[in-house]
Amino acid sequence: MSGSGLDNGVTTLVASPLPVNCLASCNGSIVTLESPNRRVRGKPNLLDMGSLMIKPIQRVMKYPLLLCELRNSTPACHPDFRVLEDAFAAVRDINVNINELKRRKDLVLKYKKNDEDESLKDKLSKLNIHSISKKSKRVTNHLKILTRGESQVIFLLEPHTFSWAPQMLIAVFRMPRVKEIAPCCSSLSLSSGAWHGVSFDTILAVVLPPGSRPRRENVIRTGLNKGRPGIQTLATSWHVTDNTFNREEKLFRSLEKAVRHCVKNISLYLQHIQDATTLALQSAMALQEISCNKDEEERGHSEAPSDAPNPCGDFAARLQTLVLTPLSALLALFPGPRRLVQKRYDKLLDCGSPPRRAGAEADLATREYEALNAQLGEELRLFNRAARGLLADCLRSLASLLGAPTRAAPRLHPAARPIPPLASNISEIQNRVLEELQNLNFVKDNSATFIERKLSFEKKKPVQILPETPRQTDTHRLKLLSTYSTEELYQAKRRCNATQEYDINLLEGELVAVMEQKDPLGSTSRWLVDTGLMKGYVYSSFLKPYNPAKVQKADAEHRFCDDDFDNISLFVSARPAHDSVTGTPEGSISDSSSSLSGTCGKLETNGTDADSFQEVDEQIFYAVHAFQARSDHELSLQEYQRVHILRFCDLSGNAEWWLAEAQGQKGYVPANYLGKMTYA
């Protein structure tokens, strides 16, 4: 009898799933099948597809009975007896395997049902002592495994158990301290057919030769349990590990992680691309609006992007169907096996519980575990293989899809191909245009005020005054002094601003010469004065008579304590030079600065004139602080040293440094170290 061939045939038959709904649909179509059968009289048990298909299996199951009868009625000396015995054994094996397979399928079906469908109430109703104790045992065993505190003992085999169903063989792994293997044991060879693909790495169980009694020396000694024979089935606890299964499980988990990440990242990428193309389209449309009444070239460029959403939409759809949908479907398939793996682990833990009270329960747990293990092992392998293939395919599709929009782009923009060589400098061109714009009057007028307002926030107050009119300088004072007599000279008590036509501005302390003590309209409160720079009207209440001797001290004191006006009155002559040369980039001041630079030029030329006025007191300044010259261009000063100022700016126009002379030496000194000393 070709027992194994039949065995395989039957296992494949049973292994092919016959889901109930398939049967149900078959039943529907059985009507046509039944009608020919009705003609066959005497077959009342042909009821539905299910009973039809189970007939071969039922026949197989009848064989052992038949063979058993035959064997029993055959005398032992008959030549066929041996053959009968073998046949009987083979057929019995087949039956056992069928049962086993069926059992496994049922187990898997039982455990893979969706736990999330149960409501809390259902879950609570399932809680009872039994389940609680089972779960707590599982947790403890799990902890034991984690801490690896338990000794691991071998489970010895009785030889006759080998021919039994495979779940009786348990192999133990992870024996860290195996010292020796008893010489009389032989390693177990496995035929994968009986084990359904579950392979064990190391069999540390001893298979005793048939007929021998287990003896002490046949026990594999471990460092942990020396001396303990462990011939009994189980000692305290043991752990079963199945390396192949673990490998498959690891692969399974990493596959799941990979697929999950892929789905997440690819959908994110798709989202970004869609956003980007929407934005690009918007900007293209905006450009089109701006350039709409211009030449065709612009419009040509802007029209091309109107096709852009279509490639993107197309790309998105293809990506979706080719990559994302399969991957998401794959992802949805993962939880089922995961639950089963978890269940298997639970069963494993159950098996680890002390089976001292061995009995039906331990055996049941062990058997269940074994069943789950075997089933899962095989199918997990298939699952992994198929999943990995699917993932690889999807990745390849992704790679080819990514190139697709870039392939489409050149087709849409043939006009863009002959790109003119880029003009050498974009900024040059644009600056040119901007310059033209700056020349537009409204820019000139209005950006000026914009800037002036900004400047007012800055603390350099003198700058605010400057764009208006140039200030009186010492030369002007000299001129006044020399031109007018003393009783005509007045000094401004405080700052006065021009309010009416022909008014002039005066700063405090400025020297004016009164030319007329009345104004055109006849009022005597406004006087026509000459500042040396210009002539204009000021209110007389602002003026007081100029008294050189008296005013000097007051002026000096006044100047020391008031920094701002110090700056203004002392260094106002320097300021115009400063601003015109450093050149604030705003073009609006160009008007005033040109006049200021004129002033500076005048100052320069007057500087040489001033040389001849060296002995005149107004050119004498004194050093408020001592100053150490750092180079030979500079002049060292001692405190309160008097110097003559030759220039109020240095060669590069910087007004912070004045050319001074003292004791026959010339050099530059910082302007803010100097205080004005007049009429010393």
Partner: protein, 213 residues
């Protein structure tokens, strides 16, 4: 966008699957290289566009100016324009106000003081009117010039924008062409791929351990 693409391949690369399967590892490394290169080019493109297109349009005063007379960029002209328009509005208001005053005096009977006031009002009106008309004319003249100059201004930027995109896309084309050659059988139509995927999925669903829902 390219960052998320890089993330795809990065995550895959760090997955333990790569250790077990050499083919998979090769595939993922190729994908990863391609993504990284795409990212680099994208970054370059973005920088280029930022420099040549976005900067010149902004309202900033510290763009790269080689000419100190040119302050700010194109966008900074708009505040001046707004200011000019506002001033014209103000001038218009003043003009109207004074005009109304003149008309009011004109309607009154022509007595001495009224005549004097009328004369004075007319005197006041004249400079204001001139001012308004000057502003108006100036704006009418210059605004179209400004508007027309926008294209000249933008032309080089636009060119550089297109250039950057063309460069980027041709690079991408090359990169992904290489990738496809390396990884995939090119020329597989979509339906073929879909069928293969479906076949694998149904094979998976046939396993008993997989939940059928």
């Amino acid at each position: 966008m390219s960052k998320s693409a890089v993330k795809i391949s990065l995550d895959l690369l760090s997955n333990p699957l790569c250790e077990q399967d050499q083919d998979f590892l090769n595939m993922v490394t190729a994908l990863d290289t391609a993504m990284k290169r795409m990212d680099a080019f994208n970054q370059e493109k973005v920088n280029q566009i930022q420099k040549t297109v976005i900067e010149p349009l902004k309202n900033s005063k510290n763009g790269p100016v080689s000419n100190p007379a040119v302050s700010g960029r194109f966008g900074s002209v708009f505040p001046s324009l707004n200011m000019a328009v506002k001033r014209r509005e103000q001038a218009l208001q003043d003009y109207r106000r004074l005009q109304a005053k003149v008309e009011k005096y004109e309607e009154k009977e022509k007595t001495g003081p009224v005549l004097a006031k009328l004369h004075q009002a007319r005197e006041e009106l004249r400079p204001v009117r001139d001012d308004f008309e000057a502003k108006n004319k100036q704006l009418l003249d210059e605004m179209p010039r400004f508007y027309n100059s926008r294209l000249d201004y933008f032309q080089p930027s636009f060119e550089s924008l297109i250039r950057a995109q063309v460069v980027y896309y041709s690079e991408m084309h090359k990169i992904f062409g290489d990738l496809t050659q390396q990884l995939d059988q090119p020329g597989h139509p979509d339906e073929h791929r879909e069928r293969e995927n479906e076949a694998k999925l149904s094979e998976l669903r046939a396993l008993s351990i997989v939940a059928d829902d």
